[in-house]
C-alpha cells in the first residue's frame, strides 16, 4: 500500500485527513479496484478526488485511460476492423456487380444499335468481355476496380473515375458546410431544450426537431430557394461556385441532421444531468456555467459525436437530392444525370464510391467512439457499427 501513490496525496486536497477516514478507505478501495481492472494507471491517480461528503469518481472523459495495455487493445481492434473492412468492400463490389448484371437489356445493342451485324456484335462482346461467364466477368470487374478504373461513361466516353475525382471534392465541401451548420446549431438547440426541460421552449424545440426529421429534404430546398433566391433575391438559386452558391444547398442538407442532433443532444444532456457527479459538482458550489459547459457538455458529447459521424451517410443520401435541386456539380448530381440517361457505369461508379466513403466514415466514427468512451467494450465483428 505504501509504494502506491496514494490518491489523496496526489490530489493534494488539504481536507483529506484522519477525520475522513471512512471516505478515505472507500476511496482507496475504489482506486485499487480501478487499478486492478486497468481502468487507470498508478501514475495518474488524479481522477479520484476525495470530498468531505462523498467519494467522487470523475466522469469517464476525465480519466486518463491510456495505459499500455489499452493502447495495445485499441491497436488490435483497429487491425481487426481494418481486416474486416476487406470482406465488406468485396461484398459491396459483388452487390454493385450483381446490380449491373441484373439491369435488363443488352449493353452491346445499346452501344452499336439494334441492326448491327452479328460479327460486329460478337467482336464487341469479346472486347468488353461479356461472352465470358459471370464469375470471370466479376474478377475482370474487380481487376478493373483495383486499377482505379470505373469504366467509361456510355454517353460522354469519359473516364468515370476521373470525373468522380473531379466532382467528389464538391460534394465533400457541401457535406462539410452542412456539418458546420448543423453541428453547433443542433447541439445548441438540444442544450437549450435540455436546460429548460418541460418548458414551452423545450416543447417548441422538440416539436420543430421532429418536424425537421419529417420534412422531405428536396421540399425544404425548393421552399428555401423560392424564399431566399426568388422572393428576397439574396442568393443565387443554383450553380456551383463560391460561398454564395454553397449556402443554400448546405442549409438544406443541414436541416434533417440539425433536427436529429437537437433531439439526440437533448436526450443525452438530460441523461448526464441526472448523474450523481453533476449533483456533487453543484453541491461543491462550482459555478453553474462551469458545470454546464465542462462537466455536462463534455460527457454528453459522446453520443453526439457518434450521430454527427453517422449523419455523414444521410448527407450522402441528401446530396443526391440537394445537388439535383441546386445544380451543385457534385457526386449526387453526377449519379442522377447517369440515372436519367441510363448511363450505368456512371451510376454504379458513384454508388460504389459513395458507399465506400460511407463505410470508411462509419469505421472512423466507431474508433472515435471507442476513443472518447473507453467503457465501450471493444467488440469486433458484425455488431461493431
Amino acid at each position: 500500500m505504501e509504494q502506491m501513490p496514494c490518491p489523496a496525496r496526489a490530489t493534494g486536497r488539504k481536507h483529506v485527513n484522519a477525520k475522513h477516514n471512512a471516505n478515505f478507505v472507500i476511496c482507496l478501495n475504489l482506486y485499487e479496484f480501478m487499478v486492478s481492472r486497468k481502468y487507470i494507471t498508478h501514475l495518474q491517480p488524479r481522477c479520484i478526488v476525495i470530498d468531505t461528503l462523498s467519494v467522487i469518481i470523475y466522469p469517464v472523459s476525465k480519466i486518463r485511460f491510456k495505459t499500455a495495455e489499452w493502447r495495445c487493445r485499441i491497436l488490435g481492434y483497429l487491425a481487426k476492423r481494418l481486416f474486416l473492412l476487406i470482406p465488406l468492400l468485396l461484398g459491396i463490389t459483388i452487390l454493385t456487380f450483381a446490380l449491373i448484371k441484373a439491369i435488363p437489356g443488352d449493353p452491346v445493342s445499346g452501344l452499336i444499335g439494334e441492326r448491327a451485324s452479328k460479327d460486329a456484335i460478337e467482336n464487341i462482346r469479346s472486347s468488353i468481355g461479356s461472352d465470358r461467364n459471370v464469375v470471370s466477368q466479376y474478377f475482370g470487374y474487380l481487376g478493373m476496380l483495383s486499377r482505379g478504373d470505373l469504366g467509361r461513361s456510355l454517353y460522354t466516353n469519359r473516364d468515370v473515375a476521373s470525373e468522380i475525382a473531379e466532382k467528389f471534392p464538391n460534394t465533400l465541401a457541401l457535406a462539410l458546410w452542412a456539418m458546420a451548420i448543423a453541428t453547433p446549431l443542433g447541439v445548441l438547440l438540444g442544450f437549450i431544450a435540455a436546460y429548460n426541460r418541460g418548458s414551452k421552449l423545450d416543447r417548441a424545440i422538440t416539436t420543430v426537431s421532429v418536424l425537421g426529421i419529417s420534412m422531405p429534404v428536396f421540399w425544404i430546398g425548393l421552399l428555401l430557394m423560392l424564399l431566399i433566391s426568388f422572393k428576397l433575391r439574396l442568393l443565387p438559386p443554383s450553380g456551383t461556385g463560391g460561398v454564395r452558391f454553397i449556402i443554400l444547398p448546405a442549409l438544406t442538407l443541414a436541416m434533417p441532421a440539425l433536427a436529429t442532433l437537437a433531439r439526440v443532444s437533448r436526450t443525452s444532456i438530460i441523461d448526464i444531468l441526472d448523474m450523481p457527479f453533476v449533483q456533487v459538482a453543484r453541491a461543491k458550489g462550482l459555478q453553474p456555467s462551469r458545470i454546464k459547459f465542462i462537466h455536462v457538455l463534455k460527457n454528453a458529447l459522446i453520443p453526439i459525436v457518434t450521430v454527427v459521424g453517422l449523419d455523414f451517410g444521410s448527407y450522402l443520401n441528401g446530396a443526391v437530392l440537394t445537388e439535383t435541386i441546386f445544380g451543385w456539380d457534385g457526386l449526387g448530381r453526377f449519379a442522377m444525370d447517369g440515372i436519367f440517361k441510363r448511363d450505368y457505369p456512371v451510376v454504379m461508379g458513384s454508388i460504389l464510391v459513395g458507399t465506400s466513403v460511407f463505410v470508411l466514415v462509419n469505421l472512423l466514427v466507431d474508433l472515435t467512439y471507442n476513443y472518447l468512451d473507453p467503457r465501450v467494450r471493444l467488440h469486433t465483428g458484425s455488431d461493431g457499427r
Partner: protein
C-alpha cells in the same frame, strides 16, 4: 399490473400512446379515410386536363390551386396519398416479413447460418439507404412496385437484426426447450413458439419506420423512379412543380405539406408506441 389490465392496455391503442400519439393516430386515420374515399371527397378527376384553368392560385373552387395542366392539386394530393401511403405501408409490411423470417431463422439456427446471414445484413446496412434504393430501382422498370421493392430491399436488414437479437434472448427460455423436448420440428418452434413473441417488437419497429418510408418513397418519385405520370404521387407532383416554382409555388407547397404532415404523424405515433414499449426510437439515430 393485473392480466386484465395488461390486456385492456394492449387492445386500446389510445392507452398505448398518450396524448401526442393519440392525436397523430387520429390524423393518420383521417388522412387515410380521405384518401380511400377520394372520389366522394372531391368532384374533380385527378388526371383530367383542363386547359381553361392552368396554374390557378388557391381559391374556393380549387383550395390548393391547379397545376400546369389545369388539374386540381387538392384532388391530386388526395389521390397521391393513396399511392404514397399504400406504397409505404406495403413496403413496411414486406420488409417486416422478410426481416422477420430472416431474423427468426438466423437467430434460431445460429452457427454458420447466423454468421453468413448477418454478414449479408451488415453489407446491406453499410449502404446509404437512398443510394441502394436507387440502385435497386434501376434494375426494374420505374413504377410503384419497384419503389415498394426497393424500399423493402434496403430496410429488411434492420428488422432482421432486431428480430435476431430478440430470438437470441428468448430461445433459451424453458418453454422453447420444452417444445423441442416433446419433439416439435424446427419450423413449428419458429413459427408457433418464437414468431408470436417477436411480432409485437417487429410491429413497433414497423410503426417507427413507416414515416421514413414515406420520405424514401417521396424521394424516389421525386427523382422520377416511382409512379409514372400521369399517376399522382406526392414526390412526383413536387418534381413536376419544380419548374414552375416562381410563378406558382402552390404546386410545390401543398404536396410537400402533405408529405410532412403524414410523416410527422407516423413518426410521432411510432415514437409514442416505442416509448411505451421501451424501444429506442429510430429517430434518435436514423
Amino acid at each position: 399490473m393485473t392480466p386484465e389490465c395488461a390486456f385492456t392496455q394492449a387492445v386500446t391503442a389510445g392507452n398505448l400512446m398518450g396524448m401526442r400519439g393519440r392525436i397523430s393516430l387520429a390524423i393518420i386515420c383521417i388522412i387515410m379515410t380521405i384518401s380511400i374515399l377520394a372520389p366522394y371527397v372531391t368532384p374533380y378527376d385527378p388526371n383530367a386536363v383542363d386547359l381553361d384553368s392552368l396554374k390557378l392560385p388557391p381559391s374556393a373552387e380549387h383550395p390548393f390551386g391547379t397545376d400546369q395542366k389545369g388539374r386540381d392539386i387538392f384532388t391530386r394530393v388526395i389521390y397521391g396519398g393513396r399511392i404514397s401511403i399504400s406504397v409505404s405501408l406495403a413496403a413496411a409490411i414486406l420488409s417486416l416479413s422478410i426481416g422477420m423470417l430472416v431474423g427468426l431463422v438466423s437467430g434460431y439456427f445460429g452457427g454458420w447460418v447466423d454468421t453468413s446471414v448477418m454478414a449479408i445484413v451488415d453489407l446491406v446496412l453499410s449502404f446509404p439507404s437512398l443510394l441502394l434504393a436507387i440502385g435497386v430501382s434501376l434494375v426494374m422498370p420505374p413504377g410503384i412496385y419497384t419503389v415498394m421493392f426497393a424500399i423493402a430491399a434496403v430496410s429488411w436488414a434492420s428488422f432482421a437484426r432486431l428480430i435476431r437479437g430478440h430470438v437470441l434472448s428468448i430461445k433459451g427460455l424453458p418453454y422453447i426447450e420444452a417444445a423441442k423436448a416433446i419433439g416439435s420440428s424446427s419450423p413449428r418452434v419458429i413459427f408457433v413458439h418464437l414468431l408470436p413473441q417477436c411480432l409485437p417488437l417487429g410491429l413497433v419497429m414497423m410503426g417507427l419506420k413507416v414515416g421514413g418510408f414515406i420520405l424514401i418513397e417521396a424521394s424516389l418519385s421525386f427523382l422520377g423512379l416511382g409512379a409514372q405520370p400521369p399517376t399522382a404521387s406526392w414526390g412526383a407532383m413536387i418534381n413536376a412543380g419544380r419548374a414552375y416554382i416562381v410563378v406558382s409555388h402552390w404546386m410545390v407547397l401543398f404536396p410537400g405539406l402533405a408529405i410532412a404532415l403524414t410523416t410527422l404523424c407516423f413518426n410521432t405515433a411510432g415514437d409514442a408506441l416505442s416509448e411505451r414499449f421501451g424501444i429506442k426510437s429510430s429517430l434518435d439515430i436514423q
